[in-house]
Amino acid sequence: MIKQRLSWLLAIVVVSAVAVAALLVWLSQTSGGGEEEVRELLGNVPQSGTMLGSEDAPVTIYLYEDLQCPSCARFARDTFPELVRRYVESGEVKVISETLAILGQDSVPAARAALSAGEQDRYWEYSSLFFLNQGRENSGYVTDEFLTNIAQKTQALDMDQWNEARDSDAVQSELDSAQASARDEGLEGTPTLVVSGPGGTSKLVGAVPIDHVSAEIDKVRSS
Protein backbone atom coordinates (compact mmCIF):
# COMPACT_ATOMS: atom_id res chain seq x y z
CA MET A 1 0.00 0.00 0.00
CA ILE A 2 2.74 2.44 1.05
CA LYS A 3 4.80 1.30 -1.88
CA GLN A 4 1.94 1.95 -4.31
CA ARG A 5 1.10 5.36 -2.81
CA LEU A 6 4.70 6.55 -3.01
CA SER A 7 5.09 5.27 -6.54
CA TRP A 8 2.02 7.25 -7.52
CA LEU A 9 3.53 10.34 -5.88
CA LEU A 10 6.70 9.84 -7.87
CA ALA A 11 4.73 9.53 -11.10
CA ILE A 12 2.73 12.68 -10.28
CA VAL A 13 5.93 14.62 -9.57
CA VAL A 14 7.52 13.55 -12.86
CA VAL A 15 4.41 14.33 -14.92
CA SER A 16 3.98 17.71 -13.16
CA ALA A 17 7.62 18.61 -13.73
CA VAL A 18 7.37 17.81 -17.44
CA ALA A 19 4.13 19.82 -17.67
CA VAL A 20 5.65 22.85 -15.91
CA ALA A 21 8.75 22.70 -18.11
CA ALA A 22 6.56 22.45 -21.23
CA LEU A 23 4.58 25.48 -20.06
CA LEU A 24 7.79 27.47 -19.56
CA VAL A 25 8.99 26.53 -23.05
CA TRP A 26 5.64 27.55 -24.56
CA LEU A 27 5.66 30.89 -22.72
CA SER A 28 9.25 31.50 -23.81
CA GLN A 29 8.27 30.93 -27.43
CA THR A 30 5.07 32.95 -27.45
CA SER A 31 5.92 35.86 -25.20
CA GLY A 32 8.66 38.45 -25.68
CA GLY A 33 8.81 38.21 -29.48
CA GLY A 34 8.34 41.91 -29.34
CA GLU A 35 5.59 42.53 -31.85
CA GLU A 36 3.07 43.72 -29.32
CA GLU A 37 5.46 45.91 -27.34
CA VAL A 38 6.85 47.46 -30.53
CA ARG A 39 3.36 48.13 -31.84
CA GLU A 40 2.35 49.70 -28.55
CA LEU A 41 5.44 51.90 -28.45
CA LEU A 42 5.45 53.11 -32.05
CA GLY A 43 1.78 52.82 -33.03
CA ASN A 44 0.91 56.50 -32.64
CA VAL A 45 4.25 58.07 -33.49
CA PRO A 46 4.69 59.57 -36.99
CA GLN A 47 7.41 58.04 -39.16
CA SER A 48 8.96 58.97 -42.45
CA GLY A 49 11.76 56.83 -43.81
CA THR A 50 14.28 56.54 -40.98
CA MET A 51 12.84 59.52 -39.09
CA LEU A 52 10.70 58.92 -36.04
CA GLY A 53 8.64 61.76 -34.61
CA SER A 54 7.34 65.10 -35.73
CA GLU A 55 9.32 66.89 -38.43
CA ASP A 56 8.79 70.14 -36.47
CA ALA A 57 10.42 68.80 -33.31
CA PRO A 58 13.06 71.35 -32.18
CA VAL A 59 15.60 68.72 -31.11
CA THR A 60 16.97 66.08 -33.46
CA ILE A 61 18.86 62.99 -32.40
CA TYR A 62 20.90 61.36 -35.15
CA LEU A 63 21.30 57.75 -34.07
CA TYR A 64 24.25 55.97 -35.69
CA GLU A 65 23.65 52.27 -35.28
CA ASP A 66 24.52 48.90 -36.75
CA LEU A 67 21.84 46.23 -36.48
CA GLN A 68 24.44 43.64 -35.46
CA CYS A 69 25.78 45.74 -32.61
CA PRO A 70 24.93 44.31 -29.15
CA SER A 71 25.22 47.74 -27.51
CA CYS A 72 22.76 49.13 -30.05
CA ALA A 73 20.39 46.30 -29.12
CA ARG A 74 20.79 47.17 -25.46
CA PHE A 75 20.07 50.83 -26.22
CA ALA A 76 17.01 49.79 -28.25
CA ARG A 77 15.75 47.68 -25.36
CA ASP A 78 16.58 49.82 -22.34
CA THR A 79 16.74 53.48 -23.37
CA PHE A 80 14.92 53.94 -26.66
CA PRO A 81 11.38 53.14 -25.39
CA GLU A 82 11.75 55.73 -22.63
CA LEU A 83 13.11 58.27 -25.10
CA VAL A 84 10.06 57.74 -27.29
CA ARG A 85 7.61 58.00 -24.40
CA ARG A 86 9.17 61.07 -22.79
CA TYR A 87 10.23 63.16 -25.76
CA VAL A 88 9.28 61.80 -29.19
CA GLU A 89 5.56 61.28 -28.53
CA SER A 90 5.24 64.83 -27.23
CA GLY A 91 6.90 66.29 -30.30
CA GLU A 92 9.96 67.63 -28.47
CA VAL A 93 12.45 65.33 -30.18
CA LYS A 94 12.68 63.49 -33.47
CA VAL A 95 15.10 60.62 -33.97
CA ILE A 96 16.77 59.92 -37.30
CA SER A 97 18.54 56.61 -37.74
CA GLU A 98 21.81 56.67 -39.64
CA THR A 99 21.96 52.97 -40.39
CA LEU A 100 25.46 51.64 -40.79
CA ALA A 101 26.91 48.32 -41.94
CA ILE A 102 30.36 48.39 -40.37
CA LEU A 103 30.55 45.35 -38.09
CA GLY A 104 30.89 42.72 -40.78
CA GLN A 105 29.31 40.88 -43.68
CA ASP A 106 26.03 40.20 -41.88
CA SER A 107 25.50 43.90 -41.26
CA VAL A 108 24.94 44.65 -44.94
CA PRO A 109 21.83 42.53 -45.59
CA ALA A 110 20.50 43.55 -42.17
CA ALA A 111 20.85 47.26 -42.94
CA ARG A 112 19.35 46.84 -46.41
CA ALA A 113 16.39 44.97 -45.00
CA ALA A 114 15.70 47.66 -42.39
CA LEU A 115 16.12 50.52 -44.87
CA SER A 116 13.78 48.73 -47.27
CA ALA A 117 11.17 48.70 -44.53
CA GLY A 118 11.88 52.42 -44.19
CA GLU A 119 10.76 52.88 -47.80
CA GLN A 120 7.29 52.05 -46.45
CA ASP A 121 7.85 54.13 -43.28
CA ARG A 122 8.22 50.99 -41.20
CA TYR A 123 11.94 51.30 -40.44
CA TRP A 124 11.53 51.67 -36.69
CA GLU A 125 9.25 48.65 -36.29
CA TYR A 126 11.62 46.54 -38.34
CA SER A 127 14.80 47.63 -36.58
CA SER A 128 13.20 47.33 -33.12
CA LEU A 129 12.07 43.78 -33.87
CA PHE A 130 15.51 42.97 -35.30
CA PHE A 131 17.21 44.16 -32.12
CA LEU A 132 14.82 42.14 -29.95
CA ASN A 133 15.75 39.02 -31.92
CA GLN A 134 19.43 39.80 -32.43
CA GLY A 135 21.90 36.92 -32.54
CA ARG A 136 25.67 36.84 -32.11
CA GLU A 137 27.69 39.18 -34.32
CA ASN A 138 28.74 37.66 -37.67
CA SER A 139 27.64 34.18 -36.61
CA GLY A 140 25.67 33.75 -39.82
CA TYR A 141 22.24 34.14 -38.24
CA VAL A 142 21.30 36.97 -40.61
CA THR A 143 19.85 34.67 -43.24
CA ASP A 144 17.18 35.50 -45.75
CA GLU A 145 14.78 33.43 -43.64
CA PHE A 146 15.62 35.46 -40.52
CA LEU A 147 15.17 38.79 -42.30
CA THR A 148 11.91 37.67 -43.90
CA ASN A 149 10.62 36.45 -40.55
CA ILE A 150 11.22 39.90 -39.05
CA ALA A 151 9.51 41.50 -42.04
CA GLN A 152 6.49 39.26 -41.61
CA LYS A 153 6.19 40.38 -37.99
CA THR A 154 6.39 44.07 -39.00
CA GLN A 155 2.91 45.49 -39.05
CA ALA A 156 1.58 46.84 -42.35
CA LEU A 157 4.70 45.97 -44.35
CA ASP A 158 4.05 44.96 -47.95
CA MET A 159 6.34 41.96 -48.42
CA ASP A 160 6.66 42.19 -52.22
CA GLN A 161 7.54 45.86 -52.07
CA TRP A 162 9.99 45.18 -49.25
CA ASN A 163 11.73 42.38 -51.17
CA GLU A 164 12.03 44.52 -54.26
CA ALA A 165 13.51 47.44 -52.34
CA ARG A 166 16.27 45.35 -50.75
CA ASP A 167 18.41 45.34 -53.87
CA SER A 168 17.44 48.81 -55.03
CA ASP A 169 19.81 51.69 -55.71
CA ALA A 170 17.78 53.92 -53.41
CA VAL A 171 18.56 51.74 -50.42
CA GLN A 172 22.24 51.49 -51.36
CA SER A 173 22.35 55.26 -51.68
CA GLU A 174 20.90 55.67 -48.15
CA LEU A 175 23.50 53.29 -46.78
CA ASP A 176 26.32 55.15 -48.52
CA SER A 177 25.00 58.46 -47.24
CA ALA A 178 24.91 57.20 -43.64
CA GLN A 179 28.48 55.86 -43.93
CA ALA A 180 29.68 59.20 -45.27
CA SER A 181 27.92 61.05 -42.46
CA ALA A 182 29.51 58.74 -39.90
CA ARG A 183 32.96 59.48 -41.36
CA ASP A 184 32.28 63.22 -41.18
CA GLU A 185 31.21 62.90 -37.56
CA GLY A 186 34.37 60.99 -36.70
CA LEU A 187 32.35 58.10 -35.31
CA GLU A 188 34.02 56.32 -32.36
CA GLY A 189 31.57 53.48 -31.93
CA THR A 190 27.96 52.43 -32.04
CA PRO A 191 25.51 53.48 -30.95
CA THR A 192 26.45 57.14 -31.27
CA LEU A 193 23.82 59.78 -30.62
CA VAL A 194 24.35 63.25 -32.03
CA VAL A 195 21.89 65.46 -30.20
CA SER A 196 21.21 68.70 -32.04
CA GLY A 197 18.99 71.65 -31.20
CA PRO A 198 18.77 75.45 -31.02
CA GLY A 199 21.31 75.45 -28.19
CA GLY A 200 23.99 73.51 -30.03
CA THR A 201 25.11 69.95 -30.62
CA SER A 202 26.47 67.26 -28.35
CA LYS A 203 27.44 63.64 -28.72
CA LEU A 204 26.86 60.50 -26.68
CA VAL A 205 28.52 57.16 -27.35
CA GLY A 206 27.32 53.75 -26.18
CA ALA A 207 24.16 52.30 -24.71
CA VAL A 208 23.67 55.27 -22.42
CA PRO A 209 20.79 55.39 -19.93
CA ILE A 210 17.87 57.77 -20.44
CA ASP A 211 19.17 60.24 -17.83
CA HIS A 212 22.24 60.95 -19.95
CA VAL A 213 20.10 61.51 -23.04
CA SER A 214 17.74 63.76 -21.07
CA ALA A 215 20.65 65.88 -19.88
CA GLU A 216 21.88 66.44 -23.45
CA ILE A 217 18.37 67.23 -24.69
CA ASP A 218 18.02 69.83 -21.95
CA LYS A 219 21.38 71.37 -22.95
CA VAL A 220 20.52 71.78 -26.63
CA ARG A 221 16.82 72.51 -26.47
CA SER A 222 17.02 76.21 -25.71
CA SER A 223 19.04 78.77 -27.66
Binding site: I2, K3, Q134
Partner: protein, 122 residues
Protein backbone atom coordinates in the same frame (compact mmCIF):
# COMPACT_ATOMS: atom_id res chain seq x y z
CA UNK B 1 25.16 33.16 -10.19
CA UNK B 2 21.44 33.55 -10.87
CA UNK B 3 21.32 36.54 -8.52
CA UNK B 4 24.18 38.17 -10.44
CA UNK B 5 22.50 37.62 -13.81
CA UNK B 6 19.17 38.92 -12.47
CA UNK B 7 20.90 42.05 -11.15
CA UNK B 8 22.72 42.57 -14.47
CA UNK B 9 19.49 42.13 -16.43
CA UNK B 10 17.44 44.50 -14.28
CA UNK B 11 20.09 47.23 -14.35
CA UNK B 12 20.78 46.81 -18.05
CA UNK B 13 24.47 46.09 -17.44
CA UNK B 14 26.80 43.94 -19.52
CA UNK B 15 27.53 40.61 -17.83
CA UNK B 16 31.15 39.57 -17.37
CA UNK B 17 31.92 36.97 -20.01
CA UNK B 18 35.11 34.91 -19.72
CA UNK B 19 35.48 34.24 -23.44
CA UNK B 20 35.28 37.94 -24.27
CA UNK B 21 33.26 37.40 -27.44
CA UNK B 22 30.08 39.02 -26.07
CA UNK B 23 28.12 35.76 -26.08
CA UNK B 24 26.81 36.37 -22.57
CA UNK B 25 25.56 39.83 -23.50
CA UNK B 26 23.89 38.56 -26.68
CA UNK B 27 22.08 35.80 -24.83
CA UNK B 28 21.12 38.03 -21.87
CA UNK B 29 19.85 40.72 -24.27
CA UNK B 30 17.82 38.33 -26.39
CA UNK B 31 14.05 38.06 -26.29
CA UNK B 32 14.49 34.66 -24.61
CA UNK B 33 16.08 36.23 -21.52
CA UNK B 34 12.62 37.05 -20.16
CA UNK B 35 9.31 35.24 -19.76
CA UNK B 36 6.29 37.48 -19.31
CA UNK B 37 8.61 40.26 -18.21
CA UNK B 38 10.38 38.10 -15.60
CA UNK B 39 14.13 37.57 -16.18
CA UNK B 40 14.89 33.88 -16.75
CA UNK B 41 17.77 34.31 -14.29
CA UNK B 42 15.19 35.20 -11.61
CA UNK B 43 13.37 31.95 -12.36
CA UNK B 44 16.72 30.26 -11.89
CA UNK B 45 17.00 31.89 -8.46
CA UNK B 46 13.62 30.44 -7.59
CA UNK B 47 14.80 27.04 -8.73
CA UNK B 48 17.92 27.16 -6.58
CA UNK B 49 15.83 28.33 -3.60
CA UNK B 50 13.54 25.33 -4.12
CA UNK B 51 16.56 23.07 -4.31
CA UNK B 52 17.91 24.47 -1.04
CA UNK B 53 14.53 23.88 0.61
CA UNK B 54 14.51 20.29 -0.63
CA UNK B 55 17.83 19.72 1.15
CA UNK B 56 16.42 21.06 4.40
CA UNK B 57 13.24 18.98 4.25
CA UNK B 58 13.55 15.39 5.34
CA UNK B 59 12.50 12.14 3.71
CA UNK B 60 10.07 11.86 0.81
CA UNK B 61 8.92 15.49 0.87
CA UNK B 62 12.41 16.87 0.33
CA UNK B 63 13.36 14.15 -2.15
CA UNK B 64 10.24 14.69 -4.28
CA UNK B 65 10.60 18.48 -4.17
CA UNK B 66 14.24 18.18 -5.23
CA UNK B 67 13.30 15.85 -8.08
CA UNK B 68 10.53 18.21 -9.25
CA UNK B 69 12.74 21.32 -9.22
CA UNK B 70 15.73 19.68 -10.89
CA UNK B 71 13.65 17.91 -13.53
CA UNK B 72 11.93 21.17 -14.52
CA UNK B 73 15.36 22.87 -14.57
CA UNK B 74 17.05 20.17 -16.65
CA UNK B 75 14.31 20.17 -19.30
CA UNK B 76 14.15 23.97 -19.46
CA UNK B 77 17.96 24.26 -19.50
CA UNK B 78 18.09 21.83 -22.42
CA UNK B 79 15.65 24.08 -24.29
CA UNK B 80 17.71 27.19 -23.48
CA UNK B 81 20.90 25.46 -24.65
CA UNK B 82 19.15 24.54 -27.91
CA UNK B 83 18.24 28.23 -28.36
CA UNK B 84 21.83 29.30 -27.74
CA UNK B 85 23.24 26.83 -30.28
CA UNK B 86 20.63 26.97 -33.06
CA UNK B 87 18.67 30.22 -32.72
CA UNK B 88 20.75 32.90 -30.99
CA UNK B 89 24.12 31.46 -32.12
CA UNK B 90 25.78 32.63 -28.93
CA UNK B 91 26.86 30.81 -25.79
CA UNK B 92 26.46 32.29 -22.32
CA UNK B 93 28.94 30.60 -20.01
CA UNK B 94 26.82 31.41 -16.96
CA UNK B 95 23.88 29.59 -18.52
CA UNK B 96 25.99 26.59 -19.43
CA UNK B 97 27.39 26.42 -15.88
CA UNK B 98 23.91 26.62 -14.39
CA UNK B 99 22.67 23.88 -16.72
CA UNK B 100 25.57 21.66 -15.68
CA UNK B 101 24.92 22.31 -11.97
CA UNK B 102 21.22 21.52 -12.30
CA UNK B 103 21.98 18.34 -14.23
CA UNK B 104 24.34 17.24 -11.49
CA UNK B 105 21.70 18.11 -8.88
CA UNK B 106 19.11 16.08 -10.82
CA UNK B 107 21.39 13.03 -10.81
CA UNK B 108 21.91 13.41 -7.06
CA UNK B 109 18.15 13.71 -6.52
CA UNK B 110 17.57 10.50 -8.44
CA UNK B 111 20.23 8.80 -6.29
CA UNK B 112 18.56 10.19 -3.15
CA UNK B 113 15.19 8.76 -4.16
CA UNK B 114 16.75 5.40 -5.03
CA UNK B 115 18.34 5.24 -1.61
CA UNK B 116 15.04 6.14 0.06
CA UNK B 117 13.35 3.36 -1.86
CA UNK B 118 15.87 0.86 -0.55
CA UNK B 119 15.54 2.11 3.03
CA UNK B 120 11.75 2.25 3.08
CA UNK B 121 9.10 -0.05 1.69
CA UNK B 122 9.13 1.34 -1.89
Amino acid sequence: MSAYLTWVHLLGLTPVCLSGNGGCETVQSSRYAEILGVPVAALGMGGYAGLLLSVVLRDEGGALLGLFVTLVSVIFSAYLTYLELFVIYAICQWCVTSAALMTAAFILCVVRISQLRKKRYW
